[in-house]
Symmetry: C2
Subunit: 324 residues, 2 copies
């Protein structure tokens, strides 16, 4: 029976966008599958990311932010490949049908989808423990995708924006909870946590410029570890150069270090820029602040040094949902 | 910390296929996203399907079958669009890391992936309540995708294979459980339940022949309802013509009717064939038994009639994970 709360109708009701939002979408929600056009001479880019209630978000996480964030995390992977978004599919598992929640969630999801030109083309809803799985599709001119492998010793290590803001937001959010106050999605000190951005324009700008790229979803040191390993390099990070998020101003040194080096969900891009590539021009053209925070080295060590070159003792930490 | 059980390593360890299994895969598991080629003049087909522990499968469902089934259900959506598989991404949420389970699950998944030429190109593992989400990608010559809309009154209603086998298997499986016996993935009476096939060759064969196509995942009457609604038609089903799965031989009439009309997970294709299109040739060319089980009508009713044309009183039922 296809009733008002049926699987079929929930997707139709909350997530079907007006037809014709993108010429690439030949067939959207409602058939066995969606149909998309991929431009000639391009490669298809695909990535999946799942957020699980209790692991990645609290049951009372503001739903509009959750919809936004589930898509933003995936768009960040497209950005890290230098891709243009094509479309997304959403699989939503919910303990029950809560229409207020669904309306807010879909509002957050679809607002970002429209802003980033990534139409929702398919979906699936199921009853069960809360989980949100998004698969994004993008396209990139053939051969120009940004990969993790490719940095060489001597390349500058560059990061976009500022670091530690999402982790700081999470710390503030936890303080609020400890005080018995509800989450506040409008609070400026949680803006990076609740409303992350994906660096899509920067990703496009790095095509044919950066030698290796990753997005920071698991923390600077963890993702730098992945990047360096893929390149067969080591890396040296200059602590004094790191762009610390303004949210962390006046916080204890230990918290700052923890948020900046190991905080997840900043969704900034971390990349290797050859010495010949002008940084300032790139920064201007993509309208994003870019900071050289160190360099790639021969060997395999990841080290963090202070302004005098002395090695800091830092644990290499980051989000890891099974080891954690 | 990227330890032996980390998110990163689980995908690498159990699901990374040897490089170069398909010329379409330019970059597989291990970067921020995968890269695929889509042939010129083709459209991209994308579909997602999630199975949740407790809703779609028991915690002790044999893991190799589960891996197979999660992919097969998605491939069936590609078949229903007439698409050729390109690749799949898998998001796996697990309560804990059980290496025996993972080894068996990935064996089942990858065996079907190889057989159907659909390489796994990306994945994500997370700790949490059990859930398996698969997104499949395929390609189809532009303009030739099979859609749900398009049938006209007078078109023959055709189904592939036999119906009710998966539901019968589930009934037998429940009997076994009631008797305290463990699930047996080798049992012939659960073959349709544990090892479903997707009708990919038939789907390809229906391009430019069928006017409207859907796969039967929610039960004959439920999916026929979707098909007829998309076409703005009604349909008449002749009960005496329905291809009943041999597993149901000798079972009570009520069980047979329930399994054949409302049983889910058969993954056969149901389609509208214009009167001019020869059925026998098609059946031979795709090596699949095809049965005319009724016709599309004007109006909007779905009715089931007996051999004398008398209308049978059947409830329109089917799987619906929220209404159920």
């Amino acid at each position: 029976m296809t009733g008002p709360d049926s699987e079929f109708d929930l997707i139709r009701r909350y997530f079907a966008e007006p037809a014709g939002t993108s010429p690439d979408v030949r067939l959207g929600i409602g058939d066995d599958a969606a149909l998309l056009g991929v431009q000639a001479g391009h490669e298809l880019v695909v990535s999946v990311d799942t957020m699980v209630e209790g692991t990645h978000y609290f049951p009372d996480h503001p739903p509009a932010s959750l919809g936004h964030k589930a898509l933003a995390a995936n768009l960040s992977d497209l950005a890290a490949m230098g891709a243009d978004p094509l479309g997304a599919v959403l699989s939503l598992t919910l303990p029950s049908v809560d229409h207020d929640w669904l309306a807010a969630f879909s509002r957050g999801f679809l607002a970002l989808a429209e802003q980033a030109s990534v139409p929702l083309v398919g979906g699936d809803t199921t009853r069960g423990p809360g989980a949100i799985s998004v698969t994004v599709l993008g396209q990139v001119p053939a051969g120009q995708a940004l990969r993790r492998a490719g940095a060489r010793p001597g390349d500058r290590l560059v990061v976009s924006g500022a670091l530690g803001g999402a982790a700081a937001g999470l710390a503030f959010e936890k303080q609020r909870r400890a005080q018995g106050r509800p989450p506040d999605e409008e609070s400026p000190d949680c803006a990076r946590l609740f409303w992350p951005s994906a660096r899509l324009a920067l990703g496009r700008g790095l095509r044919n410029r950066a030698r290796a790229v990753i997005d920071i979803s698991d923390g600077l040191l963890a993702d730098l570890g992945h990047l360096a390993a893929a390149c067969g390099c080591g890396a040296r990070v200059d602590w004094s150069q790191l762009p610390v998020d303004p949210l962390l101003e006046g916080q204890p040194e230990e918290m700052v270090r923890d948020c900046v080096l190991a905080g997840g969900e900043d969704y900034e891009l971390l990349f290797a820029l050859p010495p010949t590539e002008p940084l300032e021009l790139l920064s201007l053209s993509v309208r994003t602040s870019l900071t050289v925070i160190g360099e790639f080295t021969s060997g395999s060590d990841i080290e963090v040094v202070d302004a005098h070159g002395a090695r800091l003792d830092v644990a290499r930490r980051g989000h890891d949902h099974f080891a954690g």
